[in-house]
Each structure stands twice: as C-alpha cells, then as structure tokens.
Symmetry: none
DNA sequence: GATGAATGAGGTTTCATTCAT
DNA sequence: TATGAATGAAACCTCATTCAT
C-alpha cells in the first residue's frame, strides 16, 4: 500500500516537475521557445518521458494555466476572509489580483496563447473543463462580494444592472490594465509609472460610478490595500 | 520619370496586396496557419517575390497591425468631429472603437501575437516606430477630448489625476472588455449576452466615477451613441 | 507438482491470450497499428508482462502465422478424409482452402508482413522452423493426394513431371488468385464478381491440363465442392 | 524557352533520381528500411528537397510501383509484336513477365506493401489513377491475345467462360508462382530448382486445360520461349 | 525584379525495449 | 512474475529563408 502511494507521489512529482520546467522556459522564451526537446533537456530526462505524462505540448500549456488559475483562486479565497465592509473586501481582492500578476507574470501570456483556438482544440476535454471551472470559481467569489454589498445596502443597483455586470467591469479594467502594462512602451508614453496604483484607482472610480459606498472620495482605500497586504499576504 | 512613378506605384500595390492576402489567411487560419508558401500561392506569385517587399514574416505581421492601427486612427479622427459636449464626443469615440473591432476582428489577434516578444525583435526599428506612433496618435486624440472636458469645466480632476489617467482607464476597460468578449465561454457563463453594450455601460460608470458631466444618470448616452453611428459611420 | 502444472497452464493461457488479442488488433488495424502498448492495454496487463512470453513483437507476428497455419493443416487433414476419387479429395482440399481464407482473412496479411525480410530475422530459429514444418505438412497432404491419383491410374504424369509440380501449380494459382482477390479493384475491372468460384474453375482447368481424370468436362466438381462443404465443414 | 525546358528537365531528373535511390534502398532494406532521411542522405540532398518532389513517403512507394508497371507494359507491348500464333504470342508475354520479375525483383514487394490500405490512403488520387490505368493496360494487352485466339479458332471457350477469366487464370498462377518463388525455402523444400520453368509449365498446362491449340503436348513452347527471348528481349 | 528549388534546422510524435521495484 | 515509467532512437513533416537563373 505504501509502495503504491510512493510511486503515485513520484509520478505526481514528475508531472509537477514538468510544469515547473515548462513554466520557466515559457517565461524566458515564450510559446514558440517552449518545445518538448527543451523541456526534456532541462529536466535531464528523455523526450518520451514527457509524453508519458502529457499527451502533447498543448496539454502542458493548459495545465500550466490551470495551475496558476488554482493559485489565483486560493488567493482570492483568502482575500474574501478580509475583515471589513464589502467594498473593503473587494479592495482585498484587488490586492490579491495584483499579487497574482506579480507572482505569475506568465499567466497572461498563457491566456493569450490559449485563446488561439487551434491550441485548445488539441487538449483533452477534462483539462478544458478544469480550466473553465477554475475560472468560474474566481468569478463567483467576486460576485459574492458584490451581492453582499447589495444585501448590506452599500450598493444600490438599478434593476437592469446585475451583480455580474459589476464583476465584468472590474474584470475588464483589471485585465485590460494589466495587459497594457505588459507592453512597457505604451504606458511610458502615457507618462504612467505605477501601473498597479493606476489600475486600483480606475477600479475605485468605476465602483464610485456604480455608487458603491463608501465612495473612494470618502474613504482611504489605499490604507485598506496596505492592510490587506499586511494581514493576508504577508508571506 | 513617369515610368519610375508607375513602377513605384506597382511596388506599393504589391505590398498592399501582400497585406491583403496575409490578413485574409491570418483571419481564417491564425498565426500558425499564416506561412509564406500560402501567401505566395494565394497571390499567384513566387515566394521569393514576397521577400522583395518584406524582410521577413514578422515584418508582415507588424505591417498588418500598423495598417489597422491607421484605420482606427482615421475612425477616431472622424469621431472627434462629432458635434456635442466633450463627453458626447467621447461616446462617439466609443462608437468608433466598437465599429473598429467589428470591422477588423483580427486586430486583437495580431496584438496578441505581437506581444510575444520573440516576434517584434525580428522587425525593423522603423516599422516598430511606426506602430508606436500610430498608437500614440490614437491615445492623444482621446486625451484631447479629456482635456477639452477639463477646459470646458465639465470635468474637474484633482491635481494628482492627469487626463492621461482617464484615458488609461477607458483604454483598459475597453481593451479588457473586448478581450473577454473574445472568449465566448466566459461571457456566457456570466450571463452576459451583449458585450458591446456592457462595455459602453462600464465606461459610462467609469466616467461618472470621475465626475465627468453630464453624468450618465442625467443624460441618455445611448441616444448619443446611436446618433454618432448615424452621423459619422453611416457607410 | 500439480501446482507447477497449473502454473504452466496459466502461462500457456497467457500466451494464447496474447495471440488472440494481437490477432484482433492486427485484423482491425494492420501491422502498423499493432503495437505492444495496445496489446497490453487490451489485455489489461502491463507491457513488460508480454515480454515474459514473447521475446519481441516479431515473434508474436510469427506465432500468429504458425497458429493459423496449424488451423489450415487441420482443415486440410479433414479434407483428406473426404470419400471419393483422388480428384474429388483434391476438390475438398480446395474447399478447405477457401474456407480457411474466409475464416482467417488476416493470414494473407500476415504472410505479406513476414515476407518483409527484416521481420523474420528478428525471430528465434525455433519458431521459424515451426513455421516451415507447418507449411510442409500442408504441402505433403496435398502431394499425397496427387500420388494417390498417380497410383490409382487417374493421373499419368510424364517422367519429367513430379507430383510436387502439380502441387506447386495448384498452390500458385490459388495463392495468386486469392491475392488478386484481396485488391478489390483489379477484379472488378476484370468484370469478375465471384473470385472463389473463379479460382476453383481455374484449378480445374489446370488439373484438366495435367490430364487428371475424371476431367472437369466429364464430371461435376461443383457438386463435389458442395458435398465437401456439407459433409466436412458443416460446423 | 530553352531555359524553362532545361529547368523542367532538371526537376524531372531529380524526381527520377529520388525514385532511383529509393528503389535501391527499398531493394536492400525493405519498406521499413526506406525512410526520407536515408533517401536524402544517399542523394546528398536535404530532407526538405525530397518533400518538394513527393508529398510523403507513400507517394514515393506508389511512384516506384507505377514506374515499374510502365516498364512492364512496355515489355508486354513488345511481346505482342511477336510473330506467331496467338498462343505463341502468349508465350512471349510469359517471357516478358519472367524478364520483368528478374529485372525488377522489388516490384512484388512494392505491390505487397501497397496492398496495405493504410499506405495507399495517403497518396494523391492522381497517382492512384495512374497505377490503376497502368495495370489495366497490361491486362488488356493479354486479354487481346486471348480474343485473337478465340477469333482465329484456336481457342473455343464455352459461353460461360469469358476471355478475362483466362487472363485471370494466367495472372493468378504467374503472380502466385513468382510470389512463392520469393520465399526461397518453400520451393527448395518442394524440390523445385527452376521456378521460372515451373511457372511456364504450369501456365501451359492451364491453357491446355482450356483447350487452347496447339496444346503444349503437340507443340514445343520452350523453343518459342527461347525465340522470343532472342528476337525481342535480346538487349 | 521575379522565380521556385534547395536548404536544413527545428519540431512533434511513436514505440520497442529495458529495468528497478 | 508482474509492473509500467523511463528510455532514446528513429521517424515524419514544416517552413522561413536563400540564391542561382
């Protein structure tokens, strides 16, 4: 029994080792620079070994994305535990999103690559479902906070606006903002030096626009942000 | 002399024909499906001929992006001519952005591909500068409207907020929103059916958050949008 | 002692199970589709286990051929028991050959594959001898009937023609005929719809050419064929 | 104009050089030993070059078969010009078939390989049609002689026997005979040393069986065979 | 300027076989 | 004996780019 468990662990180790090495290569050389030869070589392992764990290159890419998605979900869950009003919890979510981007700068690149349909087609349905589920979980965590705000009376949404639309707004401006930040030039040309602060401010303005109390003009969310960082993501 | 001019025009024609064919292939088959053999074949021209016009494949990709960027700039310039308050002109810009995405759905794909660092490295500096310039021009058109709003008193920005930050906000949420729309699934899971309307609403909330008058709660920007469509982009 | 015997039987069972599964795969997917992974998977057994029974893949192929060869010999032996004149017994052999091809359509494919020299080289000498012996046994059964015909006076061979040459003739035209039948197109182009009947007729003409009495012009061998089918191979 | 012609010839030369090298490899190492790497290496040419002339490995195999088929047709056409009675012309055809097998011993191997459906599937339809046409042409040449014999009264076929069936018989026994000859062992075990003579004799017996005059018991077809060899295939 | 055959590095994938457990 | 992960050679195929004509 113990033997089986050990073997299983070894296999899982290998799988994660593949991901680790693959992520490193992806970070340094991008999608086109990530190839099975390189992964095998960096692992000091035969090429065939990789194929015993992942059906093809695309499956590795997708596994990489799912892995980070899971990391993000965990971070968002922690942020949800933050003590404070709903909008403060949302600020904590923003803090988590920021940290996630810093820790896993390759995740956006992965998403870009995966959005090329030809890639996802080659992956197993199981892994695809895993990815969708991971995404949905994140979205729902955020939507939960919006609903809390509505329930507590901090946020009054007109009947034609659903909580999900607020989530979509935050998602868009955050995703868009970080994407633009990825292209160093554009930002520099706009005379912006701290992209993260910028995204935070934009999101605050957006929530102000929805009338989510307390408005950022009445409350210091920068302090909230710093507290979240200290209390939750100190490690 | 006239002969030379004719020849020059012929060369330009060829260059644009390359782009036309390349764009078509890119739209239908994506980056990996775009290869020189295919371009040459569809143009009824030898492969070598293409290399007389573009140094390499990457240069074509970049030229494609610059081409659409120029198209967008032209559309934004038209939007700037829209009669109305600054915020109405901004709505016209939104209308232009929307139309652009519809007319050139491949532009986002191109941007994605280009953001793979390994690609832009292989292009000539000239073309890179052309791209940056085209982007900047667009940004400045939008920033001009923000400054108009400040000048006219419709928008009061605190000293620590620059007009460019407003532009960054709009840019982020629009870019992010359209990107998310590209992945059909995510949106559907969020129960959103009309992504374009959603992006418009989000942007309105954002500008409301900045206090840009008249607020969307006091003014019907949907009507403005429709007028812009009618008056400017009827063709 | 009994234990050992049981174990031995288990091993034999395994060996035959390998053949059974391998044959099925070969029939469905051909030589290139037959690989050890597939065999192991279909047997719910580890790949290594198969190597405990067969030295290599080629050995399996050869064993498959020997197995069918033995089946054919058994059928030919039954045909030899058919009551009637030698030439009628030969017709029964033809009936057996026909049935064999129908029951084991993969045998010809196996022969083809084996004739690729590179394959048989990798097999053990023992197995090669087993195959030769199985073939020889069949040939001798047929030759026996020819000798019977000579002995009984039905067939008068000139001194320079040996009974084996008659066998060779039948063998050739049967083997050739069935081979050509395998390629559907060729036959259709020749306007032949019932290949089996054709081969029977050709063989009859051949034996007529040798003067083997009663000639097919004087005797209804089709009826003999039907009787053979009924009496011997009814199951 | 001359330039184009030269270039075209060069390309054709290359194509035939590929076939020449491929045939050599196939002869020495069989199907599994024939691979693009080897062909390229033996030609002192890059791998990609081969792919410029042949879409894939299978296409080369098929081209090889068509090439020899054309050679055989040419030889059969020469045999048809042989002076003599129809049955003598048929003997000349037999002579041609024999020579063909000697000159192109790999043709049968090619046919075997091609009969694996998975191979022909990968080839272009054009090439497949070329092969079918080449086969048909040969068959028709032989059928023509049979019809001549019927027309001249040398051969009386019962109404239920078509000339094509005679062709099928000859084809079968020849194809089968040569195939069996390919496996050295079997023949030796049957005590047959001259396989070619054997096939000739068998075919003669078969035609005797059809009553094709003059019968081989009344006429020396061995002499005809030798004359054919001298007169037609001296080179 | 146009051509397109040749290049050859680069990539993905397969699979028979071994061997430590 | 059974296992099955690891091996690694070997195969096929692609394609951006060059260069002689």
């Amino acid at each position: 029994m113990a033997t089986v468990t050990r073997k299983q662990r070894e296999i899982l180790d290998r799988q994660q080792q593949v991901l680790k090495v693959a992520r490193q290569i992806f970070r340094q050389r991008g999608y086109l620079g990530l190839n099975m030869d390189r992964v095998a070589h960096e692992m000091n392992v035969a090429k065939g070994t990789i194929y015993q764990h992942y059906k093809n290159k695309e499956e590795i890419i997708l596994a990489l994305a799912v892995e980070t998605l899971d990391k993000r979900t965990a971070m968002f869950e922690q942020a949800c535990l933050f003590r404070g009003k709903p909008r403060e919890r949302m600020a904590a979510i923003g803090c988590a999103a920021e940290l996630f981007v810093i820790r896993f700068p390759d995740h956006f690149e992965l998403e870009k690559v995966l959005s090329c349909s030809s890639i996802i087609e080659k992956t197993s349905e199981n892994m695809q479902l895993a990815k969708t589920a991971a995404e949905l979980k994140c979205i729902n965590l955020v939507a939960g906070i919006v609903r809390d705000a509505v329930a507590s009376g901090d946020l009054e949404l007109p009947s034609e606006v659903s909580p999900d639309q607020v989530v979509f707004g935050l998602w868009s401006s955050t995703y868009g903002g970080y994407s633009i930040m990825g292209c160093d030039d554009t930002l520099r040309q706009m005379g912006i030096d701290n992209g993260f602060k910028m995204v935070r401010d934009i999101n605050n303005r957006l929530l102000d626009g929805f009338g989510w109390r307390p408005l950022s003009t009445e409350f210091d969310y920068d302090e909230t942000y710093e507290r979240a960082q200290r209390e939750i993501f100190a490690g």
